[in-house]
């Protein structure tokens, strides 16, 4: 039996989208990793991250991922 890493559905929005090109879709993760650790691993600048949603619910950098989550990452948006 081969063990396979779990995946998440990672979506980067607005100006953060430019970091998505180097990230595989779906994105493999090590279960138990936090959102902050994952973003750091993927090279996404956390100082540009404003909102984190996991399966539609607000999370934060310390939220833990186990696989199969939908993770949405948003910068601040203020234009009018």
């Amino acid at each position: 039996m081969t063990s396979q890493k779990p995946f998440i559905d990672l979506k980067l929005f607005a100006a953060l989208k430019r970091f998505a090109v180097k990230i595989p879709d779906p994105c493999p993760i090590s279960p138990g990793i936090t959102v902050g650790e994952l973003l750091h691993t993927l090279g996404i600048p956390v100082d540009q991250v404003r909102l984190i949603f996991i399966n539609g619910i607000k999370g934060d950098f310390s939220s833990v991922l186990n696989g199969n989550e939908r993770l949405g990452i948003f910068p601040s948006v203020g234009g009018g």
Binding site: K11, F13, A14, A15, L16, K17, R50, L51, F53, G56, I57, K58, G72, F74, P75, S76, V77, G78, G79, G80
Partner: protein, 283 residues
């Protein structure tokens, strides 16, 4: 001398909506004539007509969605539109067509070339002109029954509270995060609901904040540590997402006034038109 009500009943014209349902109609021309004859505003003629279940023809296509009472509530509402760029220009256009009775406008900016890609109030001939003046002029052209109070000045902590105090709700159409917090503080002090929209590239978001809600802090974080410009500083803004978010804001304003339908309270509507993602998140 006969009363306005009697006159209205006499001159109202029986018409049919496209689905065949009958209604009594009052034309724009007759509305103006009655306003002149009775020495009152057109808005008063329209509200009196609605009270007699006569439909001002300009609102005929609203009437399957709004009752007579709903349309009267809109005509009696005073809505603040703060920021008259991309979002604010379209919000003014929609609210004037819906029949919001009074619009209180705040923006001290003037048009420049780079506004032409998305700001509906911005025209080549109006370049360099004030956004508040252009908004007031456009509203007057669309619906001269709308009373306009325009402040040709940038939002500031000293005067915004007095400017928006008599509004029933306010649309935040600003373009910096810092000024959004200034506006939120004022509307919360005044006890008024706030509808907010923001855009960046092909991305947009909207939410509705009541005075008791957490509001911007749950979206932008702590006021003291936020950058003034968000993602839009990198991305610019595209017209189609500006009009989408302005429509969501206008719809929220109407639901706040009519106390009908689902609101985006403690929720963030987001739209990404590049990938056609539309979601509502709990914040």
């Amino acid at each position: 001398m006969s009363s306005l009500q009697d006159k209205l009943k006499k001159i109202a014209k029986p018409l049919k909506l496209p689905d065949g349902s009958p209604y009594l109609s009052l034309s724009l021309e007759k509305t103006s004539a009655l306003a002149d004859e009775f020495g009152i505003g057109k808005s008063s003629v329209e509200t009196t007509a609605l009270g007699e279940e006569i439909t001002p023809e300009r609102y005929a296509r609203n009437m399957k969605s709004f009752s007579f009472e709903d349309q009267m509530k809109l005509l009696n509402a005073n809505i603040g539109v703060v920021g008259l760029g991309g979002l604010g220009g379209v919000v003014c256009e929609i609210l004037a067509r819906l029949g919001i009775g009074k619009l209180t406008l705040i923006d001290g900016d003037a048009f420049q070339d780079s506004n032409l890609n998305r700001q509906f109030l911005c025209t080549e001939e109006g370049m360099g002109g004030s956004k508040a003046g252009a908004a007031a002029g456009r509203i007057k052209k669309i619906n001269s029954s709308v009373a306009v109070q325009a402040y040709d000045e940038f939002i500031n902590e000293q005067s915004v509270l007095e400017q928006i105090r008599s509004c029933d709700a306010v649309a935040d159409c600003l373009d910096t995060i810092h000024t959004r917090f200034i506006l939120e503080r004022a509307v919360k002090t005044a006890g008024i609901p706030l509808v907010s929209g923001a855009v960046s590239g092909s991305w947009g978001q909207a939410t509705t904040i009541f005075p008791e809600d957490t509001g911007f802090q749950s979206i932008y974080g702590n006021r003291a540590t936020i950058p003034d410009k968000g993602s839009e500083a990198v991305m610019g803004c595209l017209a189609f997402v500006v009009t989408l978010i302005a429509s969501i804001e206008s719809s929220e304003i109407v639901k706040v006034i009519l106390k009908k339908g689902a609101l985006l309270r403690n929720r963030l509507f987001v739209a990404d038109l590049t990938d056609n993602i539309f979601e509502i998140f709990h914040i």
